[in-house]
Amino acid sequence: MGSGHGTELNLTLKVWRQKNTKASGSFETHQLTGISTDMSFLEMFDVLNEKLISEGKEAIAFDHDCREGICGMCSMYINGRPHGPKQGVTTCQLHMRSFKNGDTIVVEPWRSAAFPVIKDLAVDRGAFDRIIASGGYISVNTGNAKDANNILIPKPDADDAFAAAACIGCGACVAACKNGSAMLFVSAKVSQLALLPQGQVERKERVLKMVAAMDEEGFGNCTNTGACEAECPKGISLENIARMNRELTAASFK
């Protein structure tokens, strides 16, 4: 069916199992045969889980939802890279044609002090929501808006704001960073709103609050090595971090 030229793979999977946040975890090894190269990585996990259930073993817990690369829920650390070996895709969009017959694949949860493991491969990313709650918005109550075309926005600014707003909040940037820094995530939101005329009123206050919230959540400092940008499935640019640093400096000197 479909493209139909899928071949089949035999694989060894080493998957992190951890009962809950407090328990200590370990790797579990599974052999899989006959995995179609047309499958997505998560469909391969579905096959594995069905196999486990049929053997009376508990399925592996992992986060996933939209399976089209936009909700940001999936979060596997595959062979040492968040979202696996392909650039610019989330785990759910990674397909088995990116692997070879006989491969061993190591799958871990996001590793970061600010993202505690809930179970197996699922982590708690509530810290991101709290950072947004600290200032990642424009304060406009429903009903207060004027006609949308009264705000003229130059196309390049709108495009840049959109590029920053494309962040899906998956946390790959944090998982990729040696310091577990959330700079790329935070700077994307700061940039989006700083680039737009609507965001000017709260511009200074916003960056100060969001950076303070980020520090409070226990994220590390920026390493300046750009692993976050390299691993971001949505191509969020490092320029956002530079912009946030400028914003922060400007806001700090009143």
Binding site: R67, E68, I70, F128, T142, A148, N149, P154
Partner: protein, 670 residues
């Protein structure tokens, strides 16, 4: 007397809403602070309602099963959002959006609701832009528009192929602002398992903390279900894996009537199934039909590569059959067209269950325009295509990338292969003009209700409806009921055992909690042999084959029997491992599949009773000579609102649809 009172205000259609919202009862600011509203679901409808109500001063709690409210499936909407702004000066107006929506819905939607939707559509765009939602702009800094199916104006606002994401992040930021201010309590990774009613009135919910497994009681003066649609009853759909009917279904079993459950939208342009491992289907936005032309070979079983088939041997069947709307006919019409061609043996790809969506023609057109703009004289074909591809990339880049990721084929070079897939459900909980269900104090917003799209939703109208309900309807209509609650509270303020004093200590909460805890233990104790997933797949197959794009009496009758048998088997042989007091996705899914099975039966029952074809509901027995849907306005111009009476038992209630402003007519896109 009918049990259904739609509460449509009197007066002329264009006066109803403005007059109503200016005269309904209000709740004063001091009283709002003591009124608690529970919002279940955090998509466009839920997030916009929760933030707006919190801004007004209500105490709000938000529940979502995902780890963050930003992940609700509204995030995946690609193409755009309609609004009657008439920025393009092409003849758009509130009336035209109203008319297009009623006609697109095949004359099965409620006029008053749809007109209100069209009226507030403009405010939505204003609100979103004010929040910093980066909608697409022209070089002069003004907002840009594109076309969508079922209309002849350009009224669709968009943000590349990620409009839903940007709108949801806007609503999410407004929600998080209220969370930060302490006005909203956020309960992520929580799943609503039941509505708690006392004397038939909604008083709260039972929810399960999905991380700890703890069962929780939550009190609320009103409960808003913003829990999306139920397309996953088909197993394969474009919905997110977690999208489910549980909240709506539990509400249904507590007395909320279910409206038009059989109205399902099958989206014409999705990536075809690639094998048995398939876990979900991916949409390719309707916006692609602006520039993509749909065709199949004129010859049956033509196995040549698409690029080797000459122009004169291609059948652009939508353009041929519907010259006025061409590739931009509404979704139901386009989907049936694809099915008809494939069933007739003209399908393409290995499975022969696909048609081509081809961008070559318009890529060349864009390329020639670019060449002219750049003063390139006599450009070669390669040069034209290169320039054209740049334009196409700018418009649809992320969609093309997504297609390539999934299929391994490059859509810039070869046409996409597409086939219809389940995408949206027009049916849902029946609501009155205030968005209240048949259970007092229980509301349904967005896709979870049945109200605005009739038998077929037009593209870019789901985002519009979700945000209309949340930002601009419920803030007004909720007060109608809550002002009554204020009076009741005041009358009962000296009563020692009043609902407001007892709150979750009321025995009704304990009873509901016990019932849901028992249900969870029941799943775990069946200890059968078959996985939850396997039951879901089997249900999906029954639904797709017999209650899908085309339905008939025999198939539906068989489906009902098969689903009843599947339900029995599920409850005796499902295997759910792990325990109740931990993070257990398989257990969560067991509850959802159990509810889908029951819903599936009702959908078939509804489809069987509706002896006509309309919109997404196509009964093979009722079609015109050239295969178009044939409505029966004499006997079926009503909303079917089903009342739950026990296992496999429902009573049909009818809300007659009156068309006072639009002349009901046979829909034509020719």
């Amino acid at each position: 007397m009918s049990k259904l009172d739609s509460k449509i205000p009197e007066g002329a259609i264009d006066q109803k809403w403005s007059k109503y919202r200016s005269t309904v009862h209000l709740v004063n600011p001091a009283n709002k602070r003591s009124l608690e509203v529970l919002v279940v679901g955090s998509g466009l409808a839920g997030a916009s309602a929760a933030s707006s109500l919190a801004e007004m001063g209500y105490k709000v709690k938000v529940f979502c099963f995902q780890d963050s409210p930003r992940r609700a499936h509204s995030i995946a909407a690609q193409g755009g959002i309609n609004a009657a702004k008439n920025y393009q000066n092409d003849g758009d107006s509130t009336y035209r959006l109203f008319y297009d929506t009623i006609k697109g819905g095949d004359y099965r939607a409620r006029e008053a609701n749809v007109h209100r939707l069209a009226e507030v559509s403009s405010n939505i765009i204003d609100q979103c832009v004010a929040q910093g939602v980066p909608l697409a702009r022209e070089y002069g800094g003004l907002l840009s528009n594109r076309s969508f199916g079922g209309t002849q104006v350009q009224r669709t606002f968009y943000a590349a192929g990620q409009t839903g994401q940007q709108l949801l992040l806007g609503a999410y930021s407004a929600l998080q602002r209220q969370v930060g201010m302490g006005a909203v309590e956020l309960c992520a990774r929580h799943e609503m398992l039941d509505v708690v009613t006392i004397d038939g009135i909604t008083r709260g919910i039972i929810a399960r903390n999905l991380i700890t497994g703890e069962m929780e009681k939550h009190f609320g003066h009103a409960v808003l279900l913003c829990t999306g649609g139920y397309g996953n009853v088909f197993y394969l759909s474009t919905n997110a894996m977690g999208s489910n009917v549980t909240a709506a279904w539990k509400a249904h079993k507590k007395g909320a009537f279910f409206g038009n459950p059989c109205y399902t939208q099958i989206h014409p342009t999705c990536i075809p199934v690639s094998g048995d491992h398939q876990s979900k289907l991916t949409l390719m936005s309707e916006s692609l039909r602006n520039d993509g032309r749909i065709w199949v070979p004129k010859k049956k079983d033509d196995n040549r590569k698409p690029t080797d088939i000459p122009e004169e041997e291609r059948d652009y069947y939508l353009e041929r059959r519907y010259p006025a709307f061409g590739n931009l006919v509404p979704r139901d019409v386009a989907s049936r067209g694809a099915k008809e061609r494939c069933d007739a043996g003209y399908g393409v790809g290995n499975s022969k269950m696909a048609v081509y969506l081809d961008f070559a023609f318009n890529t060349a057109r864009y390329g020639r325009t670019e060449a002219t703009k750049r003063n390139i004289q006599n450009p070669s074909h390669e040069e034209i295509m290169r320039l054209g591809k740049e334009v196409v990339k700018e418009k649809y880049g992320n969609l093309f990338d997504m297609y390539q990721q999934i299929t391994g084929e490059n859509p810039y070079e070869v046409p996409m292969r597409i086939y219809p897939a389940v995408h949206y459900t027009m049916g849902g909980l029946w609501v009155d003009y205030n968005l209240m269900t048949t259970v007092k104090g229980l509301y349904a917003l967005g896709e979870a209700n049945f109200s605005d799209h009739g038998a077929n939703r037009l593209g870019a109208s789901a985002l519009m409806q979700g945000l209309a309900d949340g930002y601009f309807v419920i803030p007004y209509t909720l007060g109608v009921y809550l002002s009554e609650e204020v009076s009741r509270m005041s009358a009962e303020k000296d009563k020692a055992d009043s609902i407001d004093k007892l709150k979750t200590k009321h025995p009704a909460f304990d009873a509901a909690l016990k019932e849901q805890t028992d249900l969870i233990n029941k799943f775990l104790n069946i200890k059968g042999t078959k996985s939850v997933e396997s039951f879901h797949k089997r249900l999906g197959l029954i639904m797709w084959n017999k209650c899908g794009m085309a339905r008939n009496k025999q198939g539906l009758t068989e489906a009902i029997a098969e689903i009843q048998a599947l339900r029995k088997e599920f409850w005796s042989d499902v295997r759910v491992l792990g325990s109740a007091d931990e993070f257990n996705p398989d257990l969560e899914k067991a509850g959802r599949v159990a509810d889908f099975i029951e819903l599936g039966e009702l959908m078939c029952k509804d489809a069987l009773h509706r002896e006509e074809s309309c919109g997404g509901h196509f009964r093979e027995e009722h079609q015109t000579e050239d295969g178009e849907a044939k409505r029966d306005d004499v006997n079926f111009a009503y909303v079917a609102a089903w009342e739950y009476k026990g296992v496999s038992e429902w009573e049909l209630n009818k809300e007659e649809l009156k068309y006072e402003n639009i002349k009901i007519a046979q829909r034509s896109y020719k």
